[in-house]
Subunit: 355 residues, 2 copies
């Protein structure tokens, strides 16, 4: 019989799944006894438990999660919502979360929002429908009100970006990061510093604020024609370099305020054959594999992704275990970035102009 079933399976015929009912019939026990035996209930004798275990394995029983969830249990599903999993940062986040949750009996599902508020909302609806146990989200720029409402109904943690009306959040000290970058350049003697960054996300605004603060505190004037703000995309980075070159403005250094912008700027500088750091210095945002390869090695802000992701995971697990009310004593963690100094920054050789 069992052999027959197996050979059927091998032919690709989808079999009806084995349930505890089948085990009960096989052993002449009641359904509830089998159920309790499988969940290691104290009121079941060791002998019965062993018999049930054996039969379960022999028949290839796998518990039906759906039924368990419907009884009011948790789905043991935690969902990660990110704009784009191809990003080295978000894929790192996914990896850490997946392995971290697995050891606690949770499973990670993945939702791509593409930074589209509508898609984000649609994804959240599906997750609510699936009764996920928890959510880790990197919110889009302008989340829908409904998205925030749904989030508020279940355990969740926000990563990097933040919806102000919600509680728990693990992020970076965006403002201080750029302050550090600017101070590094200022310390080298730079005065004409260009800033190419994002102004669509709150995080981007905080970084730009950091740039202004550092310049002001150093007593330097900010040349608005050297400040290029746009979306945090590769394309904007390349275009910004073009503008900087065409404007023939005297910049001796560049700070980039977003990961993809850094990539675009670096790519374009290479393409235009600009000598770094001789002609111009550059401090990037975000460290990874390619920053070591690029040109002379890119001085850049290393983001503590592993740390905040791990913190995120632990905190969410804590929330799930204690199942306390969200919103009470929200956990807000702001982690510092680290400036990794390579060879893309040096003292300005002269008042040479980037052209």
């Amino acid at each position: 019989m069992l052999l027959l079933l197996q050979s059927l399976a091998h032919l690709g015929i989808h079999l009806p799944m084995i349930t505890i009912k089948d085990i009960a019939r096989e052993l002449g026990l009641s359904i509830s006894t089998v159920g309790r035996a499988l969940t290691d209930h104290p009121r079941i004798s060791r002998e019965t438990k062993e018999r049930v275990q054996e039969a379960a394995e022999r028949l290839g029983y796998v518990a039906n999660t759906a039924a368990r969830v419907m009884r009011g249990g948790s789905s043991h599903l935690i969902s990660l919502l990110v704009p784009d999993i191809r990003s080295e940062f978000y894929s790192m986040v996914a990896h850490i979360l997946s392995t971290g949750f697995e050891s606690e009996g949770y499973h990670l599902t993945l939702s791509i929002t593409d930074d589209d508020p509508n898609r984000e909302m649609q994804q959240m609806r599906e997750l609510m429908s699936a009764r996920v146990a928890g959510v880790v989200i990197v919110p889009s720029a302008n989340p829908r009100r409904e998205t925030a409402e749904m989030l508020s109904k279940i355990p969740h943690v926000q990563l990097l970006r933040r919806i102000a009306s919600l509680g728990d959040w693990f992020g970076l000290d965006d403002e201080q990061a750029i302050v550090d970058a600017a101070n590094h350049l200022i310390g080298l003697g730079h005065k004409k510093i260009a800033y190419i960054g994002d102004n669509t996300f709150p995080t981007g605004k905080a970084r730009y604020k950091g740039f202004r603060r550092a310049m002001t505190e150093a007593g330097l004037k900010i040349d608005d024609s050297l400040v290029l703000l746009g979306p945090p995309e590769l394309k904007f980075g390349t275009e910004a370099v073009h503008k900087l070159v065409q404007g023939r403005k005297p910049a001796t250094a560049i700070i980039t305020g977003a990961v993809l912008v850094t990539l675009g700027v670096a790519e374009q500088l290479s393409k235009l054959n600009v000598k770094v750091p001789n002609q111009i210095s550059i401090v990037g945002f975000g460290d990874g594999p390619w920053q070591r390869w690029w040109g002379p090695g890119l001085t850049t802000l290393k983001l503590p992704i592993e740390e905040i992701t791990t913190g995120c995971a632990l905190w969410l697990l804590h929330r799930l275990k204690t199942s306390r009310q969200q919103g009470k004593d929200p956990h807000i963690a702001v982690s510092p970035t680290t400036l990794v100094i390579r060879n893309s920054t040096a003292a300005p050789k002269s008042t040479r102009v980037l052209r």
Copy 2:
């Protein structure tokens, strides 16, 4: 009442979910009528459907997926099992699948196997328990028999790697890829070609076979001391370069047979300050962002990941729709790689020795 509930939600109190029962009570209809109205049953009047729709939105109803699944429906969950999501290839796969499935009403879940057969099996167990609709898997090196058995019970597609006993598979023409790489070098005049590659996976063995074939067909002798086989890891790549250097063997070119090995070899060549392509030529495996940045630009085999992933997604969706027996007319697609020629390969300058 509704306002009260909403404010409670805002305080983070987890509410009991709204069900069709609640809607039925609200409208004075039966449960089944509400159910049918929501699924657009033809036997329900347009007017009733509109009333139900309105009430559902007003109360914030979200269908309980678990209940639907338990009735025998599909979970609309498709799972991706990969060794490591941080890989640029697998994260690309995840992105394509997630967006592709979403438009068809499916949702992607992510499982990291870490190339560990036991972890892979454990993940598969969970997926069976969750009654996922389908699976896309990059199998580990030596999958457990139980893993294959479980896979055979549900719609699935294998990607890149392959368990021979299972049907559908989308992969690369690994053997021909390395043949192309070797022929490129042979065409440039190279005779002493080193091969650094994997021999633990079937795909790795196929690539090595390609190397032997190309050399033999060109009438060249294979120097076994220039053939370094090991696990497809970065570390092995760096170590292999060390061995090659210490052996003081006359190799004028290197072919790498795995993505991470390529990374390790490239990193080590840079570190040892080996002049490429003057001292030695190199053809890498797998194209991506850093291959353009590295040194003079890496000549490499571009893998058609987008194509095979898209094919994979479409085929699985086809299987899910037609729900035909798996195993009948299995779909096996072997896609060719493309040699992208950059500046890491040139004619051998002399009989110069790598040291």
